[in-house]
Symmetry: C2
Subunit: 441 residues, 2 copies
């Protein structure tokens, strides 16, 4: 957990847990060869009490000769701005401060005073949300560069430690308010469970550890499953369907997250899972959509509509791609014919000076070369088996009100290359590099 | 859950849950094409109240025209005999009765009235024991031929059902006794958790379902891991070491169980896990031992010591194997030499009429042929690299106080075959068939 030469940024609220931790770290700083720094956040929520706590921590650190960094935050205002809950917002602000402090050091970790009691509370709190292994896994001893030196001891033990060493500590008055869920669990639920087994916190800790191992293993398998199923546009649905549900649901979670989905609930994952087997689409939080088309799970990136003037030889499209037009005379065209995809050739002379490259619009119709019909673009794209998820992003070359060429469909009857066409425009769309939306982390 | 043409044996205690279930099953018997039979166990624990319940169930079934089977058991006496807890013993007796009733029918299942509330209680009860996913997975809707038609509804809902249909039911007076752990959870813990989320039971049910999926997947992987690692004597330790801990611990559980281990706790699995990495041995409940030797995890079967007179040509050993002695004259011996393993040849004339086949005894010493030394058997077996786990079962051919031949080591100096030996005894030990101790279920 702690390595020699490390700088340890200890989060100190002034309560029994963090006071005990700070004392313990300072006592062992020499033996562990660590450098301890305290960090305190005044959330500005509990008024005078918060200022009392700040003064207490200042005195405490002074007495232990520990450098202290303090942040004054207005968590109420911040939470109002972001729409977060007070507790959630406070946690975010706190960790942001800790991480910010980390930037000043090389070999650094953040120590938080979470105890076995906190872990047991977290397990029960997550149970009331119907969480799976990931939530019921409680608080891990180490996460990234955050360490919890007290995770194996109970709150009662930290209080005893403070007593043993004559350490004063402050008590958060809101701790006694059972209208907060965590307090209710601490004050009313855990004491009852301790009547059943006095070592309830240890038991919950064992359960959490075991579920953490399960979660680690299943997450790993989910990532492997995604790697195996990955293809150009997304993931091969049948390969994901073949996975056990425990692996599949985690794979769907990672896939949706990598596509930018917001906070995913069970119902969203269930919806994704149904897609996998029956196809179709669904909407996810964060304005993300998912589709399963032709056996591929994909998360179509919302493409902003655009309409830009055609530039020769290259038009940079707002979606980051580049439309390139090469103009060939008849002779060169005949020579290069074998290398040319004909759906990308059109009569250059039909391209007027008002030509634009744009995305599709509702009501677009098109007369594909050699078909003798005019159809709605929707019908035509269906016929061409272009998945709906890709239609929004198709580049269309249009002059005044007439479409001359559509990406993936080819030229219009009017723009097609005939035996007499003298100047042939060969269109090529170059993908931008690094658009790896199927990268599963 | 229920299929047409089925006989459903409904466990009925007379409480709200089982009364509602019986009524529901009877109401839907025609539509589901099922035949309902009620089964009641009078555990003989609550005296007059138990008799009241029995009479109630009799009346209930009479009013619904449902055949009723009743078992009178003395669970107190039975529990005293087996050392089980009352509740554990009651459950065993009850299910044994249900299974016994099943034997009279072809297409049959057992319906128990477990509700979502029971499931939530079970999850919390297992959390107080520090159980992993397997315990926290609660009560499955279907297990073997046991079905739980009420597993998605709460106890409150079954009580409402009884009210709606004007169904009377009995109440177990011990239900109010919070000194029973389950009652404490029902009466004191769950009401507090429902203050946090009124749908706590549904949340716990969701958590249980998710953990059940995890458990199913990890169990399956553990069985696959065992199959891959299996070898003649046990399982290849390095292959098991390469598995994630979540899979490994379950594989160790199955392996120990298949070797006849009793009730395994976390500490036993931890001990087994340490063995895998560092070798050595440990003792498990149920008189089972485990060892890792030369990279193999094995569970040496305790071999009863024996000493039986040598019979020619075959001696059936008490461990189920057969020791066979073929006597060759010099000429035949010379001819068959290439096919003979010399460690299994001895001078027939040294075998006296008091010869026995026996297992090793402490203090045994032996003079191996051609070595010119007499050593303790222990030292010798070490030199022969015979793993301790296999030593107890070695067959030893002995005359009066002298050992002539040891399985795996060969003849003694005295019994060895020389150029002048006229009658040569060739020993062969035939394994009994079907001794597949490495079969992982």
């Amino acid at each position: 957990m702690l390595q020699g030469g490390m700088t340890v940024i200890a989060g100190v609220s002034g309560g029994a847990d963090s006071t005990a931790m700070l004392h313990w770290l300072v006592q062992h700083a020499k033996a562990f060869d660590i450098h301890v720094i305290a960090a305190h956040v005044n959330h500005g929520i509990r008024g005078a009490e918060a200022d009392r706590d700040e003064a207490f921590v200042q005195k405490l650190c002074g007495s232990m000769d520990v450098p202290l960094r303090i942040l004054h935050a207005d968590v109420c205002a911040e939470a109002k701005k972001t729409g977060e809950g007070l507790e959630e917002c406070g946690r975010r602000v706190r960790y942001a401060f800790f991480y910010q402090l980390c930037e000043h050091y090389q070999n650094v970790c953040i120590a938080t005073a979470h105890t076995l009691s906190d872990c047991a509370e977290t397990v029960l709190l997550h149970l009331t949300c119907g969480a799976g292994a990931s939530g019921l896994a409680g608080i891990p001893p180490v996460r990234g560069n955050i360490v919890r030196p007290l995770i194996a001891v109970t709150r009662t033990q930290t209080e005893q430690y403070c007593k043993d060493y004559g350490l004063p500590y402050v008590t958060d008055s809101t701790n006694a308010d059972a209208s907060f869920s965590r307090n209710r669990i601490r004050l009313r639920v855990i004491p009852e469970l301790k009547e059943i087994d006095p070592n309830f916190e240890q038991a919950a800790g064992r359960a959490a550890r075991s579920l953490r191992e399960d979660e680690d293993c299943l997450k790993q398998l989910a990532k492997q499953a995604l790697q195996t199923a990955v293809c150009r546009d997304g993931w091969k649905a049948p390969l994901l369907c073949g996975q056990p549900r425990a692996v599949r649901m985690r794979a769907l979670y990672f896939a949706a997250k990598s596509a930018g989905a917001g906070r995913l609930e069970q119902k969203h994952l269930d919806a994704l899972d149904r897609l996998l087997f029956s196809g179709g689409g669904c909407t996810l939080p964060g304005g993300c959509t998912a589709r399963v088309e032709q056996g591929i799970l994909l998360f179509p990136q919302k493409t902003a509509d655009y309409c830009v003037p055609l530039c020769l030889p290259q038009t940079v499209l707002p979606d980051g791609r580049v439309l390139e037009i090469k103009i060939l005379d008849r002779t060169t065209f005949e020579k290069e014919k074998p290398k040319i995809i004909f759906s990308n050739c059109l009569n250059y002379d039909t391209i007027t000076s008002d030509a634009v490259v744009r995305t599709r619009r509702s009501g677009d119709s098109f007369s594909p070369a050699g078909r003798g019909v005019t159809k709605s673009l929707k019908k035509l794209l269906n016929e061409h088996c272009i998945p709906p998820s890709m239609r929004a992003g198709l580049a269309i070359l249009s002059c005044s009100t007439e479409i001359l060429w559509i990406e993936g469909c080819g030229p219009s009857e009017k723009a097609k290359v005939t035996q007499t066409t003298q100047h042939i425009a060969v269109v090529k769309i170059k993908e931008c590099v690094g658009n790896g939306k199927s990268d599963a982390r």
